[in-house]
Symmetry: C2
Subunit: 603 residues, 2 copies
């Protein structure tokens, strides 16, 4: 189809939008692809909508190829099913909730596990009906605390979400693998680089889970990779647990005066001054830091927890959040601490917490009570020796040995991952990188099927709970990731497969001949089945047209200009290829041939 | 593409859903096209989604043909723009409202006039940019008081809404006409009957407005048509105003005792008994009925209004609503009446209301006050003589002459339209019919552009307010209308142009030969570019397969069954055509030829 720029609903902007920090956000707004309506809520202008639809097309093709069937659920959903799976509460403030005119509770769905589960329950009843893969491409809602980077993290966004239903774990593995491969084909087709990272399943429940990340410095997710091929989201990395240490030679613990040493740095400095050891100086790694947090559980109850981690490691906020999900975590407030007078800020140690406390008892169900829970970093193994808070102002306890002088209620993975930490699978030291989550695949298992009572009859006529997978792909986010990976200083640069137009034709110069020739060629290429944008604007300079074409980023640009008097036109390859002059009489054939050769290309 | 029924996400139901009253609702649910999630909120199962997308495709083609450009606005919108046009309030309880985590007000958009206006304001600044036609196909929300009939009146629905922007009225007329013609082509292509009715523009504001109705008894809208070709929505019909009557011979008004005659019927009976007239009996048409309503204006103020209409006419609720929109109307409550002790229930007449009341004064702006407003039916012209309430229990006043004994604050169109009433354009007596509104086109004029300050520079460099049109088409509702017009007792019956599959192939009988031949033919037709549904279910009887195929309603059904041993297969035309036997060796060619001949057909 041929679109005349003089009539096209498009205005390019000279300046970056004030709120934009990343390239994709800036360029998509400046080039007239999207417009902001509210925080995290965007309009898709004609150019942006074309790209979005082209990406959807690739996704649909690959979903169809693995036998997935498309349907479409409402975005506005009643509370009940989400209540049954606990997600009405667990989603917390991320869920848009509303009431209808009869005061019934509704939500705007962030994902549709519940609805797909109920649909299969409604339609199917036998193992013979399984497996089934179902998907939709749909507008979704999430009330993000910090929407950012244009359509990278929006509050209304387009997602492809699919779900698999199998009778057994082997079936789930197969459905999971089908999606994994389909996603690889999708991103390969789009020419979008990705890494597949082990992930935590977070609020979704379930077991195996991987994220597809587009690696880029502007990404919000940290991931790790090792020389041996291990890749994981930072939240999912497990610490390599050291062997227990023989502490039989360690002297008895000793409470020492450490006036004013309420921070790790001052404690190390003071220890080296007042209590130097012979073989080597004290280091932050010798101290056990107490990190006190308050959890808000989904039922609203608050719980103070003390976490002991080596003093040389910071707490990673995302790992902290992931470790305690679905509870929300915050640093304990002064009010939280007041309720526990045994906790002495700056001098808090393990001995008054968890199983070490005299106050520790257990309720009827065996749950600990009386003292707050005490969890430690996995590196705090039996026999390790620490300087820890003495639970008394200006005092610390030295030679405190894990397993001898204190124990914990368990371990927790909240310490930061560092460049050079060992990969959990032994594949070498970890390297840290950042990326944008573009897809996520989960083995949900039976959590949703159990909550919503999705059972079928098996081969023996017995009812079995169905096992499920959930597979999301952020279609609108992929638009932005495509821009991040396909642009230069001048503007966008689309690969053929997603470009809103395959060719932009510039009438760059004055006179009817230039305009007529440009129009003729634009029409000819359009008639050959390509999308052509014809810059037919009469009173716009060639310079502006060039700059606009570079900003808009169509893969090919045909310039009909000064060269025409020498009988040539110029075909430019926006994607970094050569530009070449073509005799005007051969132009139509040559251009169509070039476009045809690259139809659907991801370059 | 070929879809095997054994793997297809589909279950047909034997029974109609309990809540379904109309054929389309029953059949779409029973045949597995849609499923209810909440009142007025439906899931589109794979079959239903295919039909929806096919209709969208037709709509897109015709929108593109008139030069309209597609974009996509969010459904979740901030309050501000709707506040500026007053629609945040005017929409009343029909609007889904919600707050985000920061307690900012949002809505789920029912239509997008505001957003399109702001988009054009953002992008365009000169008359040279106009006209522009923009549209989207989008999920919309309306918190209907009475969702009904499946996807006919839903709370989440798919709509194509487009908007035109012109510099002057002539341009608007042209844009309006383009849409009108495009809609005619769309419904013609779909084979969906329609009438174009004059309409009231209601809460949308603006001037010229027409509805496209699919005429059907199950419809909620009443429309009228005349032998001379006049068609209008009942709300839009204007009364033919009679000429004034010479009342110089009418005796003076007279207050008479009418004990117990507090209804029109009893008043007529009593008048004929106690006060018979010589020439003919009294009739309801001789009485002037007082109909007292309370309006709730958008700003929340309540106003009691008395409406005088001939006693032989009922009030039409929809005309009543339309007449006072955007105010909401209800019958005056006892509390409302108590505030006006001059209103004597059952005996209320014009003399204590409106300009006839001694209490009538005017405020500084000339607005009437002191007495409630009194409006009359347009048939109450000067010189007409009435029996009306005497504003005293058990009394009426006779020989009350309009213009002599009382006047009104104006006229109002709330009386029912009756079969045989004259068409306002003189084209003959009106016939009444019912229909479903499938599209609505409006000349909005400058209301939204003024409220949101959309101005462009004209030829003389002066700023001009842009004039707009708004053109909605109910895509999901059209699915239901298509079913209403394309079904029989056995089930659905899709025309080729929207059918989810063009051909359903039945392997109807036992044995590998039947299954293999059926599969081979299904594959061959699919390979020729048609959508084929292959009923390959192994343990399902031929009878069930036949019944399912009739319920599902694909335009062609190929039966490979008993005839195969005589070398023939049977091609059935579901749409009421002949079924014919075809030698199996010619089947592939014959079927493809038949389908090709009818590709895109609306039959």
């Amino acid at each position: 189809m041929l679109t005349n720029m003089s009539e096209f609903f498009l205005r390019t902007l000279r300046d970056d939008p004030a709120d934009a920090e990343v390239a994709s956000h800036k360029l998509l707004v400046r080039a007239g692809y999207i417009r902001r309506v509210a925080p995290g809520i965007y309009t898709w202008l004609p150019l942006g909508l074309k790209v979005l639809r082209n990406i959807e097309k690739v996704v649909r093709e690959e979903m169809t190829a693995i036998g997935a069937q498309e349907l479409h659920f409402p975005a506005l959903l009643p509370r009940e099913p989400y209540e049954k799976t606990n997600r009405w509460e667990e989603y917390g403030p991320n869920l848009f909730r509303l009431q209808d005119r009869k005061h019934a509770d509704y939500l705007l769905a962030p994902t549709h596990e519940e609805m797909f589960t109920l649909a299969v329950k409604d339609m199917y009843s036998s193992y013979k009906d399984l497996p089934v893969l179902l998907y939709q491409i749909q507008t979704k809602y999430r009330d993000e605390a910090r929407p950012r980077a244009g359509v990278i993290r929006g509050r209304e966004f387009v997602m492809k979400d699919s779900y698999s239903f199998d009778i057994d774990d082997a079936g789930l593995d197969k459905s999971y693998e089908l999606h994994r491969q389909a996603y690889q084909r999708i991103f390969d087709k789009l020419g979008l680089p990705y890494v597949i990272c082990e992930a935590q399943s977070g609020a979704m429940g379930g077991s195996r889970s991987e994220e597809f990340l587009y690696p880029n410095e502007m990404g919000e997710d940290t991931f790790v990779r090792s020389p041996g091929g291990y890749t994981a989201n930072a939240e999912a990395v497990t610490t390599v647990v050291p062997d227990p240490v023989d502490a039989s030679d360690v002297p008895a613990k000793e409470l020492r005066s450490t006036p004013g040493a309420s921070t790790i740095d001052s404690l190390v400095e003071l220890s080296n001054e007042m209590y130097p050891r012979e073989d080597r100086p004290w280091e932050a790694a010798d101290t056990l830091k107490s990190y006190v947090v308050t959890l808000t559980h989904p039922d609203g109850t608050r719980e103070v927890v003390n976490i002991g981690i080596p003093g040389d490691r910071a707490v990673d906020e995302k790992r902290l959040e992931a470790a305690f999900a679905p509870a929300e975590v915050e640093i304990a407030t002064p009010e939280d601490l007041e309720a526990h007078p045994e906790l002495v800020p700056g001098y808090l140690g393990p001995e008054v917490c968890g199983p070490n406390s005299d106050k520790r008892t257990h309720d009827e169900d065996g749950n600990p009570q009386g003292s707050i829970r005490f969890l430690v970093d996995p590196r705090v193994v039996d026999g390790t020796t620490w300087i820890a808070g003495g639970n008394k102002v200006d005092h610390h306890v030295y030679n405190l040995v894990m397993g001898r002088d204190f124990t914990a209620d368990g371990t927790v993975e909240v310490a930061e991952i560092r460049e050079g930490d060992p990969a959990p699978d032994g594949s070498g030291p970890l390297e840290l990188a950042r990326g944008v989550e573009i897809a996520h695949i989960f083995q949900l298992g039976r959590k949703y099927a159990e909550a919503l009572d999705l059972k079928v009859l098996d081969q023996n006529g017995k009812t079995q709970v169905v096992t499920m997978g959930s597979y999301g792909l952020g279609v609108s986010r992929v638009v932005a990731a495509m821009v991040e990976s396909h642009h230069d200083d001048l503007g966008l640069s689309w690969p053929m497969i997603v470009a809103p137009f395959h060719l932009q034709v510039l009438a760059a110069g004055k006179g009817d001949e230039i305009m007529d020739t440009a129009k003729e060629l634009a029409e000819a290429v359009s008639a050959a089945g390509f999308e052509v944008l014809f810059d037919d604007r009469a009173k716009v300079s060639a310079g502006v047209k060039f700059a606009d074409s570079e900003l808009l980023g169509m893969p090919y640009v045909l310039v009909v200009g000064r060269g025409l008097k020498n009988g040539v036109v110029e075909l430019r390859d926006r994607r970094g290829g050569e530009s070449r002059e073509i005799p005007v009489e051969e132009a139509k054939t040559a251009i169509i041939e070039e476009l045809e050769k690259n139809r659907g290309s991801s370059r």
